[in-house]
Every structure is written in structure tokens, then in C-alpha cells.
Symmetry: D2
Subunit: 309 residues, 4 copies
């Protein structure tokens, strides 16, 4: 990794935004629920947050969008902080090598999901956090508000209800793992917790700030330690190898940073010890990642040299 | 990544060797062929090579061992240098999420292996390099001799013959992909090429040196360019996400460097822009990676801060 | 098939019962719910019903037991009678070639179960019958009472509750198929219907009589037609190829009759145009079929020549 | 099974031939090798052989065609006659529930094919027969000549060579099973034996006659016993449950007889204790069975009542 000691992020962001603006074709917004389908696929925002909380942004960087799977990173951090390595007896840390909802591998491996970022794994993490806190979704929301400094962050109950109405695959996953004794809570309770987490709306600025604890190796915005250095590395490593569905290898090559995407079109990324990023563009590629988001991160690491490889 | 500007590698290596020496339990050497089973599982060597070719070492770092799957990295580089992105139409870049020999995913994905480091993928790369050069194994050997500066490197014909005698799974993979038109050469010719490559014997010093072109972003020892910057990044990314069989996630977390292991007990790793490493310890864990090798790399990145995350 | 024109069934049954009595080892009763685990694995009953409703029996042939998956045959008949071939767009007629609960094949084939006798398929049939009648379990119970002439047949609510408490795999299957739009009813409603059906208690005599409509090519006990000749053949064929979990090939060879087993230890069988049989022995083999039940049917077809092959 | 004591087969065959003649659409001939692709899809022949060797026929019933997978039945009989139940430790007797060439199930079940009629299973049977006789293909040819009374039957070396040139999937299967120690002979030797067997040309009359030993419960044309009664039943049962690729359930329902199809467009069927049939029509459905062949057998059992169910 080549670090440029005093980078001016703002001109970089503006250059990227111009390039993205000129790029034809941005994929299609997710259409399985109305709230996502309604997004303008030409929306684009990008933010960089430095370790001290300074944020730079461009485009729609202050507009809230549906965070969806991006929240899996924070739920993982919150549970890992509480229970430590015991978590890894209930969910693995290896890439899945299959489309993100597949039940096959889950059956082959006796109800232990491959990693915390496939849906099955995220359900397990939520289940465990809920058992420890009594309100997994509330814990997550409090954390995001505190780290982003934005008390207005909230659930989108309409999105949560839509997800629930299309929630049969997740219900199947949850019941399937319950059959292997890998789920503690009642399934409807768990699913409600899960869908509410995914429904949280936040902007690029909010998410870039909320992610900085990973760039600070586990230290929260208020200076307290959430994760050990080792745990922070653990999460970054999982983001790099498993953060973008079945395109993690591609993302590792093109972007070369730990990252996590969501079907709402957001992508977060971490430059350990340096800064965090969040990009939003609702149009997705066929593997469920934001077309503009991955392109913008690709350009960012190329322009700044802030890549792992 | 925290870089220490003037690291003294030798004391670090010696400290690691002492720690490994005191560690009980080192796994079991591969026993499917006699030459590997005969290795002393207590052997241990480690070398670091800087970009300028300076090498530091400890223990059995000058003793040749069977490189096995480590050669997949070099074959990939040699073919990628020749045909460029066309290669990616014949082999993917995503983690496999399954034990390294599995046929399931290969069938599901119509004969296109997930990545160049599972056996199926390495067979495709060898096949393509052989079609382009007429002697894939010879090309590889020449390259390793040149980069390591060691003209004594050679095939181990006894090991190659042993592999061939136990080669039914690889033969099945090759025929299976041929049925999908993803293999060009005759299968016996291809298998001979493949097993001879895996049989090459080299020491930690040799392999650390031979890997430096990846730390130099594609530049060979003689200063000529083998790979574009982008291709070098590509290979590093694939090493990080797919280099250690079904333990890539674990390796990414513990070591945090692009790496590639072989069942001969060797592991190579790359610190982009800085140095390369090779460790050898014949005892393997249940996923086929060197127990001492992964432990030593783990300690190295912890002691030096030379990790990606 | 060699038919013996005037068979005396009673002596055959008594000879079989004696042989079974002398046989050591009868497998283990299902133990996933208490009511099944409490069964004496040495219980044994067997009944033969002729087309005119004459019944012969031996041992515990009048003792009620938990019918479990045997009811899948009757639910299939009731739904097929109502909707005809349209059913086959929602469930297949081919053997599954996998343990009976596997999700793999269901995913591979887009939520269409392979046949009506694996759990996924039986859930689809129950779902469709329930949509057509508003009370699938009630329809089934009425049918069994009418055909057996035993108005005392009833659900075992304790067993239904136990099944429900261990119902996560079936819930997973149902939600999974719902995600493919292959389930109409709410999942809790469907599961309640399904578990109540499986809980019905009936004796060998009851079940042999209730099955005679299949030996009469679709004609019920009261002389009315439930199924067309073609539909009756359809069900017999599915019983032969899919009626005994992953042992259908073995059953076809040993018994050579259309049959269906349940984990309660019952097995029914059909000699088309001639008679029906029901055997009960709670001890199961490793594939979930009654050890004594299959052995008794094997002896019956050997002694009488009433086999298909 | 309703048996009609003195059936006049000839008028039945003629009626069926007329109906088939009027049927539009007959599927497509296999086109993976030239010799099969060259067949006229409108060809049609059908023969019935009684237990005493009397043969009735219609259409192209005396024209030789490529027997292909039909030979699997005879090879199985020849090996089972020699080694008995030991064979079942190397190949199963259960339906495969997957397209006939799938490697997945083979991996899941450690190299033991599900049944002798999928390609993997047939390779195992051929391998074992070859080990016992030194010339599996020669044994098969002698048997077919003797049973059909036609000394002109022979291999079609051109077809065998074509199969061999497209034999990568079968080579993959053979090597894969060899890796599980379930193949004894050298793979090229085994494949040569296998492809030569499949290449034998015979007419409907020849094959109906050659199959009569199964209708006679194991007795050959010369009155000697090849199989025990039990072994003959075993083969009939496997034909019913596994004889028509992934359409065995459908075939059982429509035809209701033990049968075996080949991609050359032939289908044989057995009415135990009564007669045998062979139909030929080169046009195949999407599951690889002769469209006209299955339709003709369907009509035959409907018209004569000679069905199992």
C-alpha cells in the first residue's frame, strides 16, 4: 500500500463524480420491494471520512438511502464485541462461493453459515445479539446514531414491512438453522429484528463516519474501545473476502479494500489506519453490487494509491 | 498497513524460529505419496527477500522441498503475461467455498473453474500456457531459475511419477473440463505437464526471491516487466482470497497478506512494495496448510505490523 | 406376477408372524418425538384386506399406531381426485435420489418437489387440498373413517403438537417453496394441517381397508369412483418408485409391490386388482423404514407369488 | 396385472404402428455422434417375443439400430450371474434423481454409483465383468448372439470410435471412481470395452429375443439358468425404477413395465412370466427416451392390460 501523506480528498471525489456522471449505463435498481425500485438509478453520492471525523463529500452524499446489507458489518461488530470468539462456533469466516441465498452449502455444513455476510450468517449474528441485548435492532440504531453523530437516523417501517412480505427465503434459512439448533429466538421475532435493521436509512456521510471505528482499529468516535485490534482486523479481513456477495474476488482486485455492499446501492470501504469511504448509486450489477459504487471505489484507489495490493 | 521504514528482518526471523521451535504439535505431513510422507514434520525454514534481492533466512531456509501448489502462482503469472484478460473467460477469480478438489461447483458452472488456485483452475492455466509455449513445465522451470538465481532448481521426476500414479482425481477434472471444451491439449500430455510443475524442488530462499516480481508490481529480477501493474494486483488479490484452499478467510485474518500454500508444507507471501516471504514446515493442518508456516507468518505480521488490515 | 386363484391368507399371515417373532433385531423406534419413542419395538401386526372388504390379521393388527407419512398417499388421492393433472405442475413424479428432507434438489429445481412423498411434496399436496376444501386434515380424516368403516379414527393432538415443536425443517421447506410461489396458504396454517394429518392413529386393519380403493383401481368402499383408472395407476406407480424414502429400489426388488412407509413403523402395500396389506413394527432401519414391516412384506410376496416381477 | 390368456399380439402391434404413423412430432435423434444423427426420426419398429421364442413384429422390426444403453441390462445380468451380491458393494440399486451423467451424487456417495444404469454404474459393472472374463465386450456379444439366435450381431467400430472421441465425461467418471478405488482396470482399456458394448447393432426382433431370459425368471434360450429367480427379479426391479434416466417415474406410470432405453432410440420392456418387447424410434424426448418407443409401450399396456399396476 502506497500512502500519500497529505491527500486532498475533495478534488479526488469531484473528479470521480465527473467521471461517473459521464459513464453511460448504471445497472438496475433492486425491484423486489417498491421502496428500492423507486430509486433513481442516476443518483450518486460519495463521502470520505478521516480518522478524526472530518468528512468530504460529493453529489448526493447527504441524502439518506436504504442501508440494507451494509448493516451486517455493524451488527457483527456489536455482537463480536460482546461475545468474542464464541461467535465463530456458530458462523464461519470463509467465502461462500455460491449465490448469497443458497441453502445447499448450509445443509452440507450442518447449519453453520459460511460467514456473517451471507443472509444466513447475518441471521445468526442478529439472533445472538438479540439474545444478549433484548433489542438487536435498537442496539444497532443507537450505535449508528452515536458514531455518525446523526440522531435522526431511523428505521424505515415501510421498507421493513415490504421485506417481511417477501421474507420467505430468509424465513426458510432461519427455520433451517433452527433445525440444527443454531438459532435461539422465535423465528418471527428474529425476522422482525433482522428486517428492521436492514431498513435503516442513512447517507454516505453517516455511513462513512459510522465505519471509522474499523479504520481506527476498534476505537469508537468517543474514544472508547469497541473491538480489540485483533477483532477489528478480523472484520476487515471478512469484508475483503466476503463483503460483496459472489464478486469478492473481483472487488479485491479492482478496489483492493475491505468493503461491504447492500442492495440499496450503498458500498462502504475501509482504508485501515487512514480513512473510510461510502458510495451510493442505486443501479446494481447482476451480482447485486452498485455499479457506480464499485466503479467509484476502483477510481479512488487508482487515483490515490490507497489500495491494499 | 503500518510500515516500519528500516526493519531489521533477521532478528525477527530468529525470534519466530525460536517460538516455533517451542511449539508442540505441528500437524502431519501429506502422506498420499511417499516422497512427501518421508519429510520430517519438525523441519522449519523461513526466508524474507527484499525488493533488491537481499535475502534473510533462518532454520532450514536453504533446504529444497517440494513446491507443489505454490507453483500455481508462477504458472498463472506466465500465462497471464502472455494472453492477458482472455484467460478470465476460461477460469474465474472467485473463492471456491468448497474443498479444493470438489467437482460440484465445476459442474454447476459448466466447466469453468472458480479460480486458478483450485486444481481444476490450475489445470486450465497449465493447459493454456502449454498451448502457447509448447512446454509449460519448461517455461516455469526457466522462470524460477532466473528469478531465484539458482540454476540448480529442477523437477523431481520421482515425485512427478508418484503424483501421476495417484492422479485419478486430476484426470477426472481434466476430462470433465474437456467435455465442456475448456481443455485444449491431450489429457495425458496435460497431466504430465501439471505433475512435473508441482514436482519442482526449491528452498525458502529460492521461492522468496522468485516471488519478488509480485512485490515489485510485475518487474522481474532483471528489471524487465513481466506483468502490468494491474495484472500484479490481480494475482495478489487472488492469492489473498483463494490462496490457502478453504482457509483463505482465516489466513486473511491471521496473516493479512496475499499468500499461497502447497501440500509440501511451503507457504509464500507478498508484502506489496516491500518484500516477500517463504516459510516451510511439512506438517499440515486438516485443510492442507502448513501449521508452522501459517503460525510463522502470523507472528511475522504481528511483530512487524506488515499486514494489510 | 403369478396369481394363486384361491389363496388362504390367514395361514400365510400366521407363518410370517411366527418367523418375525423368531427374528432377532428389529431396528429402533423413531425417537425425535416422545410418543414415537415410547413404542415397543417388538410390537408386530399385519393385515390383508380383500377387494370386498374381508380382512385377515395377525398379532397387533387391531392396535392403533401413528400413521405418519402413510397418510401422504391418501392426501395425494384426495387432491388428485379434485384437481387432476394440474397438480403435476406443482410437484413431480420422479424419485428423489436423496435423503427425504434434502433441500438441495428443491433449490436446483426451483421449488418444485420431486414427488408427493418427500416432505416438500407432501406439503405442496396438503397446501393445494387445503385451498380446495378449507380443511385438508378434516377431509383426510373423513375419508379414512369412511373407507375403514371405523368412526373412532382421530387425530392425536399430542403427537401433532410434538411434531410442530420439532417442525423447523418442514417450516424451512414450506417457506422455501413459498419463495418460489409454490405454496398458497399461510405457513403456520399449512404446517398445522400437515402435522395433524400425520398424527392420525389407525390400526393395520383400518389402513389395509382404507387402501383398497387403490387395489380396486379407484373405486371407494361404497362403490363410488374416487379416481380414474389412470389416476389409480399413477399413485401405485409413485408408491413403487418413491414410497420408501431412499430405499425404493431395494423395496421394489425385495417386495415388488407399490408401498408406502411411515416413521411410526407402518407400511401399506397394494396388490392391484387383488388385495392390500398393512404391516406395523415400530423398529426402523437407518433409512426410516420398518424393519419387521419390510421383512414381512418380503415374505408375503415370496410365499404367495403376489409380486409384480 | 390383468392377463389375457390367449392374446393375439400381431393385430395389437399393427394397430399401434398405425397410430404412431399418424402421430406428428417424434422428437430429435441424438446428434452427438454422426452415426446416430444420421437416423431417420420417422423410422419405427416394434417386436414382441413370447417365452417360447415366437416373435411378432411390425414396421422396421428387423432393421438393426445402435443398442447403446440397452446393453447395460445384459452386462449387468452377465456380471451378476458371475459374482452375485458382491456386486452391490460397488454399485447401488436406488434411483439417481439427477440427470444421468451427474458427478455430484457420485462425490456425495464416495464413488459408489447409485445404480447400474447410470453411466457411472454401467462403467463399474463393465469393469468388474472385464476383470472376471478378460473380455467384457466379447462376452456380451456372444450372449446377445446366442439369445437372439442371430450370429450376425456385431460391434459397430465406427460408432465405438465416435463415442470414444466424445468420451470425456465417461473418462471423467471412470477416473473419479478410480480415485475412490472403485475401478480395477486401466481407464483406456475400460472405456474401449464400454464404448464397444454400446456400439452393438441389433434389431427389435434380436433384442426382444435376447431379453426373454428376464421374462423367464433367469432361464436362457437353451434352457440353462443364467440368473436365480431372485436375481432376475432384482434386474426387473432396477429396470422399473431406474431404466429410463430421469423419467423412470413417468415411465412406471405410463407403461408400468420394467424397461430400459438407449439414445439410439430403442426401448426394451419385460412382462414377467409372459413376454418381452422391443420398440425402436430414433427421435428422443428431452430426457433421452424414444418418443415413439414410450408411446408405443404405453399403448401396448393399455390395449392388452399387460401392466404391473
Amino acid at each position: 500500500m502506497n500512502t500519500t501523506s497529505s491527500l486532498a480528498f475533495q478534488p479526488v471525489l469531484e473528479r470521480i463524480a465527473e467521471e461517473i456522471e459521464r459513464t453511460p449505463g448504471r445497472g438496475r435498481a433492486a425491484d423486489y420491494i417498491p421502496a428500492l425500485a423507486a430509486c433513481d438509478p442516476r443518483s450518486f453520492g460519495m463521502a470520505v471520512a478521516e480518522l478524526d471525523g472530518t468528512v468530504y463529500g460529493v453529489g448526493d452524499w447527504r441524502e439518506p438511502f436504504s442501508t440494507q446489507s451494509i448493516t451486517k458489518v455493524f451488527t457483527l461488530a456489536l455482537d463480536l464485541a460482546r461475545e468474542g470468539d464464541e461467535l465463530w462456533e456458530h458462523v464461519g469466516r470463509e467465502p461462500s462461493g455460491n449465490p448469497f441465498n443458497s441453502l445447499v452449502q448450509l445443509e452440507y455444513e450442518n447449519g453453520i453459515p459460511r460467514n456473517p455476510f451471507i443472509n444466513a450468517g447475518a441471521l445468526v449474528v442478529t439472533d445472538r445479539l438479540h439474545s444478549r441485548t433484548g433489542d438487536a435492532a435498537g442496539e444497532l440504531l443507537s450505535f449508528l446514531r452515536a458514531e455518525s453523530g446523526n440522531p435522526a437516523l431511523d428505521f424505515d417501517e415501510e421498507v421493513a414491512a415490504s421485506e417481511s412480505a417477501h421474507g420467505d427465503r430468509n424465513a426458510a434459512l432461519a427455520h433451517f438453522m433452527a433445525a440444527y439448533d443454531n438459532i435461539d429466538n422465535d423465528i418471527p421475532v428474529l425476522l422482525d429484528q433482522y428486517f428492521r435493521q436492514c431498513s435503516i436509512r442513512a447517507s454516505c456521510a453517516d455511513l462513512a463516519l459510522a465505519t471509522t471505528f474499523l479504520a481506527r482499529h476498534g476505537i469508537r468516535a468517543d474514544g472508547t474501545r469497541l473491538l480489540t485490534l485483533s477483532q477489528a482486523k478480523q472484520i476487515n479481513a471478512i469484508m475483503l473476502t466476503c463483503g460483496t456477495y459472489d464478486a469478492a474476488g473481483d472487488f479485491a482486485y479492482r478496489v483492493g479494500l475491505p468493503g461491504k455492499s447492500g442492495v440499496g446501492g450503498g458500498v462502504i470501504a475501509v482504508v485501515p489506519g487512514r480513512c473510510t469511504l461510502c458510495v451510493w448509486g442505486p443501479g446494481l450489477d447482476e451480482r447485486g453490487n452498485s455499479v457506480a459504487g464499485v466503479a467509484a471505489l476502483d477510481r479512488f484507489t487508482t487515483l490515490t494509491g490507497l489500495s491494499v495490493f
